[in-house]
């Protein structure tokens, strides 16, 4: 790829990233249109594999941008796409942090944060619901419910639950 092509790619990825309210994966369809359909940098199967890989591996889902970059141009591609994907939202988050530190006690901001709190919890429950409804069978639902109780009410380390789930999956129970 030429320098101009890279610059255009970075600009496009940044523009998509700024739309990603609600999580990194919300813009996956948009990125797929850009990288697969418009620029033809990979096929849709490798795009899907990249997303699945980042979801399965530990760490934030946003890392799928690094995997996409890796598919395009190896390690340097990974760094370039990760930075392009993260830079706009990080700049906004930093500005919000600064603003909050300076004006956090302003009445409108206190009210905004109080108003958003129950909605944020609801969004988490919605995320769990959507995730669980992808496998609408008794066994995975039961595992999700048991995990909910354990994570909520006990101090059992989360990795035990992840390990147990992985084991059940490998044994073919789920």
């Amino acid at each position: 790829m030429t320098v101009v092509a890279w610059l255009s790619l970075v600009g496009n990825v940044m523009a998509v990233s700024i739309l990603s309210v609600g999580g990194a994966l919300t813009v996956a369809p948009e990125l797929s249109r850009l990288l697969v359909d418009r620029l033809r940098l990979m096929d849709s199967a490798s795009f899907a594999t990249s997303v699945a890989l980042a979801q399965a591996a530990p760490g934030p889902n946003a890392l799928y941008s690094a995997v996409l970059g890796y598919q395009i141009a190896g390690l340097s591609g990974a760094v370039i796409l990760l930075v392009a994907f993260m830079a706009p939202s990080t700049a906004v988050a930093l500005a919000a942090a600064r603003f909050g530190a300076a004006r956090g006690h302003h009445r409108a901001l206190v009210a905004l944060k109080a108003g958003l709190a129950p909605i944020s919890i609801a969004m988490l429950v919605a995320t769990a619901w959507i995730l669980a409804s992808q496998t609408p069978r008794p066994a995975p639902i039961l595992v999700a419910l048991v995990t909910t109780l354990l994570a909520w009410r006990t101090r059992l380390h989360l990795l035990w639950m992840v390990g147990a789930g992985a084991l059940l999956g490998i044994l073919g129970v789920l």
Partner: protein, 213 residues
């Protein structure tokens, strides 16, 4: 299901029963923040948020649940990955821009190495039935982990400006829009967030004017 006997200490979480826990020692340096976020990110299979809540509120006690909930809420309304935004806000709170860089760097660097190593070997990885089974299992568990975190964070709503019943109604409305009606999150935030903001502002103004009639 899991070998409970090996976990030391009390298994029942007092915080979930006795209410809010106090924040204890805040981090003192960027190194400490970087290491904490690296370790929690590397444990985040199928989502980092439940681990972040566990580690930041209960293990390291850098934040109370109410503080965590506040930063997470802000991180959710600004664009970008929730957990990455949360790390920037948490890091900034303790150590300014350096803290934000340490937190986000820790969150991304270690897992990036892992995921790229997997990508380099992905042809065998994706086709492996053991890996596919494990991913299915982890996905079921991670739904539960997220729901468990959400239930824990409800204790952070205690003493909220909104009051219990309106909080529950607003939460139910937001849940219905996103999970049942599949309305895009941004629209759900506007539709429910604006009334919630208005209600909280009204309560705040009333409190500021010398209390309720």
């Amino acid at each position: 299901m899991a070998p409970r006997a090996r976990i030391p200490g009390p298994l029942i979480d007092p915080g979930s029963i006795a209410g809010e826990q106090r924040a204890a020692a805040p981090p003192t340096g960027a190194g400490e923040i970087f290491v904490a976020f690296t370790l929690l990110a590397l444990q985040g299979f199928g989502g980092v948020l439940p681990v972040a809540q566990r580690v930041l509120c209960e293990e390291r006690r850098w934040l109370t649940r109410a503080e965590f909930l506040e930063l997470f809420s802000v991180g959710q309304v600004i664009p970008g990955p929730n957990v990455c935004n949360l790390s920037v806000l948490v890091g900034y709170r303790f150590l300014g821009v350096r803290g934000a860089a340490a937190a986000l760097g820790g969150l991304l660097a270690g897992p990036a190495v892992v995921v790229l190593a997997l990508a380099a070997t992905q042809r065998t990885f994706a086709a492996n039935p053991v890996v596919a089974g494990a991913v299915r299992g982890i996905s079921a568990v991670s739904a539960g982990l997220i729901a468990g975190s959400a239930l824990k964070l409800t204790s952070g709503l205690r003493g909220s400006l909104l009051g219990a019943a309106p909080s529950l109604l607003l939460g139910l409305a937001a849940f219905t829009l996103v999970a049942i009606l599949h309305v895009p999150l941004l629209w759900a935030l506007v539709l429910v967030g604006v009334p919630a903001w208005g209600l909280a502002a009204w309560h705040l103004a009333r409190a500021g004017n010398g209390g309720a009639p």
